[in-house]
Amino acid sequence: MTDVIKLTYKVDGEDFTRAGEASSDLKGKLKKMNVPPDAIRKVAIAMYEGEINMVIHAHGGEITVEISKDCITMVLADRGPGIKNVELAMQAGYSTAPDNIRTLGFGAGMGLPNMKKYTDEMKIDTELGVGTTVTMRVNIA
């Protein structure tokens, strides 16, 4: 693998039946490329949490993934409401998810903490009323 492979996913903000599809697809592709299982697991966890956040908090968006021989970079961009207090949002257990979302098993407030924990670098750019872009990198050991 010498080149950088680039993938894009549209995430539908209304469709819960498809939430997680981008993560599943990426996981399948990484497996075929023989990326080490440990890195795949980290990417799958981080990407799933990010994808779900786009669906439940931001009406969907777009994910770009770059796979090189050293690392996998995921950029999740949405035009949702933005995050008022990033430090607070990053705290384990903090969630603004409404009850109807919670009854589906979401809203543990562990999404952003998981994304941080399972990636080597994570950056959140957000502006109220404009949107949020989360950039995450997982190194391939």
């Binding site: 993560s23 799958a44 966890i45 799933y48 543990a108």
Partner: protein, 110 residues
């Protein structure tokens, strides 16, 4: 114990027989919140929960759980069932509470 052996044991009812009969059931995992399951369930886990919807199926696929066991008589909703069938995920059921059901399997796996 494989998924097929678990099904044949009759310990739990069957909602959907997946495409992984030979998959080894390696561990017992129990939680209803998806973010916890996503990070803590490992490949081969039998996942005990009361959440029977498509998101449970999606997380089971991503974490490579060997099967899902819906406890307390919880049902798998229609879209969840469709997704389980499409993705070949084994989903079982029991009227038992989560702890008792998980303990049953834990004893069997010893």
């Amino acid at each position: 114990m494989t998924v097929k052996e678990l099904i044949d044991s009759g310990l739990f009812g069957v909602i959907n027989e997946g495409e992984n009969p030979d998959c080894e059931v390696t561990k017992v995992y129990a939680c209803d919140l998806l973010s916890f399951a996503m990070s803590k369930a490992v490949s081969g886990s039998a996942w005990f929960t009361v959440m029977g919807n498509m998101n449970t199926i999606a997380v089971a696929v991503l974490t490579e759980c060997s099967c899902i066991i819906l406890c307390e008589g919880a049902a798998l909703d229609e879209t969840g069932l469709q997704k389980a069938q499409q993705q070949g995920v084994t989903v079982l059921k029991t009227a038992l509470p989560i702890f008792e059901a998980a303990l049953l399997l834990h004893e069997k796996l010893k």
